[in-house]
């Protein structure tokens, strides 16, 4: 299997677990990005492609299975008084229209943006959900992983960034978007909207081995692993306990 580097670590954990149960099977997990995942599935270079975004209209020849969902949280320093921003405000901040925290009701200090690098699936998703046609300001600091963004935001009270919800910890604060807290229940009931699917992709019918693996991934034990790793399971919370 090959594709999205956002899905890769989770697929790796699942593959390891699966190989423990079926020692005769070998699963190789490779990164490369969502687009590479689409290509790999289409060309049968991999049995399973991985994607952290929905399929584009010209990719509908592939079949996709959603294995979990991942939310993007907008994060600030814990000491930042701001608790809630509207989607439009987040967009204005990241496009550089709103430059000072006092325009949002915070202290009088310039806002430092922290974003992911071009080509990152998380950045693509953020761009689509929040920015639409607007561009993320060129003045934004760029970090090349969720962890690096969290490090920068946790050490500077004037920064704002975005990371996978699963990686939010107590060193940073996830803000509410239009009054909706980013939580598993709000994602499940659809009120928190910055959510992207993690997909497994197939071109045509999956092979028998691939099919058994997917069945395993969709089963409660595997879903429990995913939700423990910080993703939002496709099964209701009650089915996991």
């Amino acid at each position: 299997m090959a594709g999205s580097t956002s899905v890769e670590p989770f697929a790796g954990v699942l593959a390891e677990e699966y190989m423990k149960l079926h020692p005769e099977v070998q699963i190789y997990v490779q990164g490369g990005g969502s687009t590479a995942g689409v290509e790999a599935a289409r060309s049968h270079a991999a049995n399973i492609g991985m994607s952290s975004r929905s399929l584009l209209p010209n990719e509908k020849d592939l079949s996709a299975v959603t294995i979990a969902k991942d939310a993007i949280a907008v994060i600030v320093h814990p000491s930042n008084p701001i608790r809630n921003l509207s989607l439009i405000q987040v967009g204005e901040v990241f496009s550089g229209k709103v430059k000072n925290w006092n325009e949002l009701g915070g202290p009088d200090h310039p806002i430092f943006l922290v974003t992911r690098e071009e080509g990152s699936g998380t950045r693509e998703a953020f761009q689509k959900f929040v920015m639409e046609k607007e561009e993320i300001s060129l003045a934004a600091l760029v970090q090349d992983s969720n962890g690096a963004i969290r490090q920068v935001v946790s050490s500077d009270p004037n920064t704002i960034g975005y990371i996978s919800l699963g990686l939010v910890n107590d060193k940073i604060k996830a803000v509410e978007i239009s009054g909706v807290e980013p939580s598993v229940s709000n994602i499940e009931n659809g009120s928190y909207t910055l959510v992207r699917p993690f997909l497994f992709l197939f071109s045509g019918e999956p092979t028998r081995e691939a099919k058994t693996f997917v069945d395993f991934v969709l089963s409660p034990p595997a879903q429990r692993i995913l939700s423990k790793e910080g993703l939002v399971s496709i099964l209701p919370t009650t089915a996991l306990n």
């Binding site: 580097t5 990164g31 990005g33 687009t35 590479a36 430092f112 690098e117 071009e118 080509g119 990152s120 699936g121 761009q127 561009e135 300001s137 060129l138 003045a139 934004a140 600091l141 760029v142 970090q143 090349d144 690096a148 490090q151 920068v152 050490s155 500077d156 004037n158 920064t159």
Partner: protein, 283 residues
């Protein structure tokens, strides 16, 4: 015996050639992957363009070229005086017992992985800059300071060699004429070793321009043209390092094209250093 000699000779030749071949292959590959994009965008637009937004097809690396030189200049501002002072001290003023300890310590500076420098900078230096000087802390100033230390071993070891290579008569003659020790160092030895010292500085400059990992961690990587030493910046190397993970298509080719520009800059610097150190023999 003769056959054995020949065999060893040829084996060594093949090994030597293979390393050069690899260099040639790398060069060829970088140019093959990057040049088409430079033509497609236009060399002028690529090198002097101010906007780098690969998702919209804007590939302008001018801010990165400027940032690369800015960071390097800052590093030299710190590295040259420190390096020269250290060299003079090591060559002329150190008691042998201290030199025995100092020299390996400086070489050790070169052995520290750059990610460690980066991490130290991120945890210690960046907050200091942010709290006392303002800005995000991830800045050209922080990067320059770290780089200044990273190029010290290069500057010190090469300029020390060039001072040591001076004929003893220079120093003895100057002292015999009644010059003080300091006058001898400053007026005779440093000027005589000038070409070697300049070569060491240019090699240090090459090292500074090429540094990637520490800079990714410290510079903040914003693609905007920096307007002060406290601004975040992105150098040519960090542009490649930070974006290669996901780049595909034109974006990927543009990173190779960035590498071409970097390659040419480093080639020029290294050739200059080689030329200068060749002249050293003639004084």
């Amino acid at each position: 015996m003769d056959i054995k000699e020949k065999l060893i000779e040829k084996t060594l030749l093949v090994i030597a050639l293979s390393s050069i071949t690899i260099l040639a292959l790398i060069t060829f590959f970088i140019f093959e992957e990057g040049l088409p994009l430079i033509w497609k965008v236009g060399p002028r637009a690529f090198i002097l363009g101010n906007r780098w937004v690969p998702s919209q097809g804007s590939f302008g690396i001018f801010p990165m070229i400027v940032s690369s030189f800015w960071v390097t200049f800052g590093a030299l501002l710190l590295g040259i005086p420190l390096g020269l002072a250290c060299t003079i001290f090591l060559c002329e003023l150190t008691p042998p017992s201290i030199g025995l300890f100092l020299r390996p310590a400086i070489h050790l500076l070169a052995a520290i992985p750059s990610v460690i420098y980066g991490f130290w900078g991120l945890v210690v230096l960046v907050p200091l800059v942010r709290n006392y000087l303002g800005g995000p802390g991830l800045s050209i100033l922080s990067g320059s300071i770290i780089l200044g230390f990273m190029i010290l071993p290069t500057i010190i070891s090469i300029s020390e060699d060039s001072i040591k290579a001076l004929p003893k008569t220079y120093k003895e003659g100057a002292l015999a004429l009644g010059a003080t020790h300091w006058q001898t160092i400053w007026r005779v030895m440093i000027p005589a070793a000038r070409s070697g010292i300049v070569a060491s500085i240019i090699l240090g400059m090459g090292r500074a321009i090429g540094e990637t990992m520490a800079m990714i961690m410290i510079l903040g990587n914003a693609v905007k043209m920096p307007s002060s030493f406290l601004d975040s910046a992105r150098t040519l190397t960090t542009n490649i390092g930070i974006e290669m993970g996901y780049a595909s298509g034109d974006h990927r080719h543009a990173l190779f094209a960035t590498a071409i520009v970097l390659f040419i800059i480093i080639m020029i610097l290294n050739s200059a250093a080689i030329l200068l150190s060749r002249r050293r023999g003639g004084g």
